[in-house]
């Protein structure tokens, strides 16, 4: 983390970190445009851009029609033409109409023009469950996009990472899908360095060192994995917890180094198990470090149903919990 101005910090939550970072980006570069539904006077549904329109004007804070394909598509055109748009999809669940613009267009602009055109675009969207959001306000979308070379995917969990990685995404010359877990928005607080800094996209963070087991996670579940690891520490079992932070590019070296040390790997994510990020990580570890393993790789993920339900028991059944994670960790340590 390169802090350029001052080492002082401010305590804020994740949503405040998003807001502060966007505000700085708008202040610093008038090529930056925010485009999305309700981002104007309302300041988006989470009030992230509240008051931006008064300060930066309607031409830089664009309230769009309800038309996700063109929110992203118009932002792609702006990016190709030299602006630095930050497009917002109100909830990740509504990103599907924009799938073609993200996968078919943004991710391929540099490639298909052999570098003649580029697409420096950030697409921000709140995702994830545990907020009684029912079927259509709870989804995890990362696995639908991580298959796509040319696109970067970032999913930070801590306020300091939100700021450093969002700054990096805004600076990035390629399209970045920036996923914000909505349950962490107000729940997770932390110290955030003042001043401008970036955290490189593609670097995982070893949150806690340990010897008996490696747990790889991202998003809300990183916080629960830390809680679970604390429970195991109380039982004398030391767990290494890695926060991926970037889903693509993914930090292979950090994962492999950890697995080679602990010899056991548990991947924990909120998204469905089948074809999820965990499948790719476990395939990579099986290819690269099979003989370092003392146990099968395990994935502790959501069941393969279309979505979490609205009723509390349905949501709870879908989501994991620190307790369930702790049990998955114990099982693997004991293997």
């Amino acid at each position: 983390m390169a802090v350029t101005e001052t080492s002082a910090t401010t305590v804020m939550n994740n949503v405040e970190a998003v807001r502060a970072t966007l505000y700085e980006a708008m202040k610093n570069d008038d090529r930056t445009i925010i485009i999305g539904e309700d981002v104007g006077p309302r300041g988006n549904v989470f009030l992230i851009t509240k008051d931006f329109i008064e300060e930066f004007g309607e031409s830089r804070v664009i309230d769009t029609p309800i038309a996700e394909a063109s929110i992203v598509g118009i932002a792609v055109g702006m990016a190709m033409e030299g602006l630095r748009p930050i497009a917002e999809i109100q909830f990740a669940d509504f990103i599907y109409p924009a799938f073609n613009q993200i996968v078919g267009e943004a991710a391929k602009t540099r490639y298909r023009s052999n570098g003649e055109y580029t697409c420096p675009l950030v697409i921000r969207t709140p995702y994830g469950g545990g907020v009684r959001g029912a079927l259509s306000h709870s989804v995890s979308i990362e696995a639908l996009f991580y298959h796509v070379p040319g696109l970067k995917i970032v999913a930070p969990s801590f306020p300091a990472d939100v700021k450093g990685l969002l700054n990096a995404a805004i600076d990035d010359p390629d399209p970045v899908l920036f996923l914000e877990h909505k349950k962490t928005y107000r729940l997770i607080k932390g110290e955030v360095p003042n001043g401008h800094y970036t955290i490189p996209i593609g670097k995982a963070n070893v949150l806690q060192e340990g010897t008996r087991l490696t747990v790889v996670s991202y998003g809300l579940y990183v916080h629960w994995a830390l809680e679970a690891a604390k429970q195991l520490a109380g039982e004398g079992l030391s767990v290494e917890v890695i926060d991926l932070r970037s889903i693509r590019p993914m930090d292979k070296e950090t994962i492999l180094a950890s697995v080679e040390k602990t010899r056991k790997l548990l991947i924990v994510h909120e998204d469905n198990k089948f074809g999820g990020i965990g499948a790719e990580i476990s395939a990579m570890v099986a290819e690269e470090a099979l003989f370092h393993l003392d146990a099968p790789i395990r994935r502790h993920c959501a069941p393969d149903v279309p979505a979490m339900g609205y009723a509390l028991p349905l949501e709870e059944e879908y989501m994991s919990s620190p307790e369930r994670m702790a049990q998955a960790m114990r099982d693997l340590v004991a293997f």
Binding site: P65, V76, M78, E81, L83, N100, Y111, Y117, D174
Partner: protein, 341 residues
């Protein structure tokens, strides 16, 4: 449609100079020649695929004349050979794309006719229909946002493409923000095998403009002069800050959709022959000769010149190398790319 061949000898040039009229004609001949070349090379097994624009010559040559090089931006589609060469791409560049050579703007990555040229103001686009229309609108937004005057974005597409949601969303946004944007629909009546009647219940696409709060207009796309007049009026309107327009030029598609299509599976030879009676190339030629703008000899010389240029471009492009296998791995992201990332 207006029968340009039977017009009176007092030609309405709509502000075009004699040189511009001849340049339009040369562009039409060049399109015909380059189109032919693509299909020939395909039959010779030298290129796997080609698309033709036969029938669109007048529309594209006229529209290209309304484009201000070095200022305007073009967001075209794959059938826009005449627009591409009309705004400054060379036959050599077209042939590079046909042969998929390394020096092609996109490095041999895309199908032929998917041009890209930052220098010419031609935005890179994919084969995904209508996906480029929001890009054009985004570029128009950038122009307006930066307060640049005297610039506009010209986007084109076929009639079938207007059925896509992204097309509608783009029109709506451009209208709301009064962007310097012109949507030019090249209505040739077909989308591969699907006729207009199965594409839309209202066959006059320009009429949709009213629904967006825009001016809309239809014109005879077989007449390059009328095309020029309508496109330049819309572009001037856009450049001056008065906002976008939706314009629709009618034309025919003489060839199959592409070298991979057999149009006799969905239309008859008689139908195509009927279309051919309206071929804009001989009709414009007759108009120029009738009005003393060119002699038969000059036209023949022009044809020869265009053939020579096409031959030279073919030889030059064919002689160049393909991209090398290592080129597959470049320009995924900025900088180097490791496949497991």
């Amino acid at each position: 449609m207006t029968d340009v061949g039977t017009r009176p000898a007092t030609l309405d040039k709509r502000g075009l100079s004699d040189e511009q009229l001849l340049a339009i004609f040369r562009n039409m001949l060049l399109q015909r020649q380059l189109d032919n070349r693509g299909f020939q090379l395909n039959r010779q097994g030298k290129v796997p695929f080609a698309l033709g624009s036969e029938g669109h010559e007048a529309l594209q040559a006229g529209a290209a004349m309304a484009f201000h090089r070095g200022k305007d931006i073009l967001a075209p589609y794959y059938r826009d050979l005449g627009l591409a060469v009309g705004i400054g791409l060379t036959p050599f560049e077209i042939l590079l794309s046909l042969f998929a050579r390394a020096d092609d703007h996109n490095g041999g990555r895309q199908f032929p006719n998917h041009y890209s040229s930052k220098a010419a103001g031609l935005m890179s686009f994919s084969s995904i229909l209508a996906a480029h229309i929001p890009h054009a609108v985004g570029a128009a937004y950038a122009i307006k946002y930066r307060g640049e005057t005297g610039r506009a974005v010209l986007a084109t597409c076929g009639d079938g493409t207007t059925s896509e949601g992204e097309w509608h969303e783009s029109m709506n946004f451009a209208a709301i923000h009064k962007l310097p944007f012109v949507m030019l629909v090249e209505n040739n009546g077909w989308a591969i095998s699907t006729p207009l009647s199965k594409q839309m219940a209202e066959p006059e696409i320009w009429k949709r403009a009213a629904g967006y709060g825009l001016p809309g207009r239809r014109f005879n796309g077989l007449d390059p002069i009328e095309t020029y007049a309508v496109v330049s009026e819309a572009m001037e309107r856009a450049r001056s800050g008065a906002g976008p327009s939706l314009i629709e030029g009618t034309c025919y598609r003489f060839l199959a959709h592409s070298t991979d299509d057999n149009d006799m599976t969905y239309r008859t030879r008689e139908m195509v022959e009927e279309y051919r009676k309206h071929d804009p190339v001989p009709r414009f030629e007759a108009l120029l000769i009738q009005n003393g703008l060119a002699t038969k000899e000059q036209v023949d010389a022009l044809r020869k010149d265009v053939l020579r240029e096409t031959n030279e471009a073919t030889d030059a492009a064919e002689a160049l190398p393909y991209p090398v296998p290592a080129d597959l791995y470049t320009n995924v992201y900025e900088g180097a790319w490791q496949p497991w990332q």
